[in-house]
């Protein structure tokens, strides 16, 4: 804040991502260093808001159990039907029993992304720690499930039997590498998209303090906000459908 006073113009696009203690006054105390794992931070608060929003939509919305649904119930049913169909289409009939887990991921990411678009809020899914955890849960879950269900045959998916014999070892190496790169791309895609979008928005918002270009900057912030709304939903969708695709390898057996 001293910088602003000195230069009159400063943009700190990354400050919005700082994790800090929630019940803490920055003027009198250090709110960011040595944060213990159990402390209540802005991450905790915004995750809690997401959980409450999900409960409001999915539990309170369907409270009436109405055959002719209310608007809220209708939204919950639409999301249910959308994800259920996705799981069924991509993973097949055997994958349907993992539907609650996929639904959990989708709703958490969707609500975190959308809540992050509220001004002054905190975007939990813009943090690599969060997305890496989500991606590793999927990766480890799928790998363990595949090994348990298919045994050693699960490794057969690295052996491309439709390729010429000479090429198979090479392809197997590539397949193994691409398999282990999955959680990296899976997590960085989500965090990167959100972080970049929010940072760009902040940069344009910072330019709005310059009188000459402020109309352009405000217009740009508005346009990017619309784009970010799209990105928030699309990234939740992408993460979910990739989860389904990976899940298919485990439940559908080895196809190649």
């Amino acid at each position: 804040m001293t910088d602003v006073a000195e230069t009159g113009f400063a943009i700190h696009p990354m400050d919005q991502f700082i994790v800090k203690r929630f019940f803490c006054d920055a003027a009198h105390a250090d709110c960011t260093s040595n944060i213990k794992w159990y402390e209540i931070t802005n991450v905790t608060v915004w995750m809690a808001v997401a959980v409450l929003a999900i409960i409001a939509l999915m539990v309170l919305g369907s409270r009436g159990r109405a055959v002719i649904p209310t608007r809220l119930q209708s939204m919950g049913e639409m999301i249910y039907g959308f994800i259920y169909k996705m799981v069924e289409d991509v993973t097949g009939h055997d994958g349907v029993k993992y539907f609650p887990y996929v639904m959990t991921l989708f709703l958490f990411i969707l609500f975190s992304n959308l809540l992050g678009l509220i001004p002054m809020s905190f975007t939990t899914t813009s943090h690599v720690a969060v997305t890496v955890t989500l991606a590793l849960l999927v990766f480890l879950g799928v790998t363990i499930l595949g090994l348990v269900k298919n045994g050693i045959g699960f490794l057969g998916m690295f052996w491309v039997s439709s390729a010429p014999l000479a090429l198979r070892p090479v392809l197997a190496v590539i397949e193994v590498i691409s398999y282990f790169v999955r959680p990296v791309s899976h997590s960085i895609r989500l965090a990167g998209n959100l972080m970049a979008g929010h940072a760009v928005m902040k940069v344009f918002a910072g330019f709005a303090s310059m009188a000459v270009i402020s109309p352009v900057a405000v217009g740009a912030v508005t346009a990017i906000y619309g784009l970010e709304l799209l990105v928030a939903v699309v990234q939740a969708y992408v993460f979910t459908i990739l989860t389904c695709v990976y899940l298919k390898d485990a439940v559908g057996g080895a196809h190649h």
Binding site: F17, I35, V59, V67, F99, A129, V130
Partner: protein, 178 residues
Amino acid sequence: MATEAHEAAAGAAGHSAGMPQLDISTWANQIFWLVIALVVIYFVLSRVALPRIGAVLADRSSTITNDLAAAEELKQKAVAAEKAYNAALEKARADAGRIVAEAKAEIQADLDKATAQADVEIAAKGAESEARIAEIRAGALESVTEVAKDTAKEIVAALGGKADARGITAAVTAKLKG
């Protein structure tokens, strides 16, 4: 650890150079709360929300199916009722036709009987009349013989002759026969 804390402090001061995402010191906190959030969402969804919404969707689709089936059944009933109505109409028409035919036949029979009786009566009357005519004719012939005899006698008397009754009768009879 000390340098990380220093960096975080610098970030809080508003001129951080690095990305807060890469500040490993906050990861434990984020991951801990993330796992709690996911577990809560998972249990709420799998225990309450998803079974409930699934049941509502199943209810709705079964309601729709039942309504469609009921509509189909009612339609079938309507078709059956129409068929029964048409059959009844057809039967009534046939009955009416049969009754008309019966009545016609009966009338015809009565008529035939009456005609036959009338014919018989007419024939009887005719025969009687013929008998009467024959009788009258016979009577007339006899009368003619007598009148002729009488007239002949009178004529003979008028001419001054003596009427021989037997001769005249024989002559008249011969004349009439001839």
